[in-house]
Amino acid sequence: MTEARDTPGLDELTAALADRRARSLAMGGAERIAQQHARHKLTARERIDLLFDEGTFVEFGLLAHQHSMSGAVTEPERTPADGVVTGEGLVDGRRVYCAAYDFTVMAGSMGMIGEQKVARLRRKAMLNRLPMIWLLDSAGARIQEAAGSTFAGSGALFFEQVQMSGVVPQVAAMLGPCAAGTAYIPGLADFVPMVKETSSMSLGGARLVKAATGEETTDHDMGGSQVHCYVSGVGDLEVDDDPACIAAVREFLSFLPSNNREAPPRRETADRRDRRIDDVEKLVPTNPRAAYDMRGVVKRLADDGHVFEIKPTFARNIITALVRFNGQSAGIVANQPMIKGGALDIDAADKAARFIWLCDAFNIPLVFLQDVPGFVVGTEVERQGIIRHGAKMLFAVSEATVPKVTVVLRKAYGAGYFVMCGRGYEPDTLVAWPAAEISVMGPEGAVDIIFTKQIAAADDPATARAEYAAAVRQTIDPFIAASWAMVDDIIDPAETRRVIIDALEGAETKRQRRAWRKHGVPPV
């Protein structure tokens, strides 16, 4: 026998639902939202509005909140959406997944339920082969839930991120703190923009550092953009504020395909494919010892002069940038003679290797602009491990099977010529400007090694040395390399844009298979 009950009507139920939704959408409440704004930060939901094409964001897990380990509900009002907004939507018409940590809810701390939501996002990103975006503004793991040895079961988030690497693009936008182990989220991501002043990341937050080592510091001093975008190289781009950060995320994605099986999207341009660069002489000095700003050359070559630099303020002796050539995404790797003479050091090698791996993973062709006097030599760089760092760049450029085009503008010396995709590294096209100097080393260095005895025996060693140097200099001539068909052509610098576009189009159908291996053993 059933007992008649007074069940609520649908109106009442939907009203209750609306009420719950409204409470969750209110995040940490008006006061905490005001505090967030006072810190010059947007809320998680405001950031999502900026990231996605209008009206396309679909959320899940809005009604989730914190629980105790025993399953009892604890203070649902304190943890709307459990501190992380999760869902999917369109960016420039293409679907991506996003987890936006909400600092107004328990300082954006990562709780158990919130982490389950983000785990579902990662799974969806892999199942559907679509990009994953983290908008990070989080104090780190919610220690109240995580302290103790149930920690033994955690950590899969990084394992999953590693499986995602090179399959779908991963972006970790730093819009606030990201302390403790969660700093490995940006550490494993493909692109990490950082907001000046408000963002930071560190393996241990300031309070943990104090407890562990006694060192007094702040999250900002330890891990702000002034550290990671300039010194450590963990950050990819320093931006002024939240809107600029979200714009950078959208821009980065615009160059990439949704996954490693797709081609990058094209962006049509009115910029002529055969546009000449008529002010080359103003940009690049003929004196081979004189420095200049390579960014001027990159800007003139790219479609519409549009250049999106990755790590522009780190290892500035090399430029890594996403550009387009006749609508096609391409990655530029260019030496920067203005900084350290364009010589390569450990940070430059790391920066370039990482960028080459990124482009190769996502089918973005590579264009190398060479003006490199070589790797820095000496006791200091050996202590820093220049050999293993330089070897990373050799590894990356050798592994890359995307179309590769190399232009030697001026200097191409020693292993610098190799890592910048010299002939041995299978560029699809390799051309040189008429003043190119391709050689194992410069004339002065060479004579001191080759003619040591002759110079010492000469009546006038200084004159003899100069004569030998002049003789060696005669052998450094791009027409010699061209005559041996080692470079494909010597080109008028003004025609470089057309030459690059022809070369990229010529390699569009390139399919290169390497010998099977589980994986190489990359130097680190």
């Binding site: 420095a291 350290k340 003479g341 200097k411």
Partner: protein, 70 residues
């Protein structure tokens, strides 16, 4: 006070400023000869050159302070 440091080991080829001279941000103070290049050592801040700690023809090490700007 800003310490100007050499970013690369090399031969200090030319000093183009004098003690007491006013300089603007990004001005070239000295030119280093290294890696077949003339590499300008510039100042990240405007001010006055108060000390020059190296001489032309000297070999400077990476990280060595070569001048002070106040």
């Amino acid at each position: 006070m800003t310490e100007i440091k050499a970013e690369l080991v090399g031969n200090l080829w030319k000093i183009v400023v004098e003690v007491g001279q006013a300089v603007e941000e990004d001005d070239t103070l000295m030119i280093l000869e290294s890696m077949k290049m003339e590499i300008p050592i510039t100042t990240p801040a405007s001010g006055t050159v108060t000390q020059i700690l190296v001489r032309e023809g000297e070999v400077v090490q990476e990280g060595q302070t070569v001048a002070i700007i106040d």
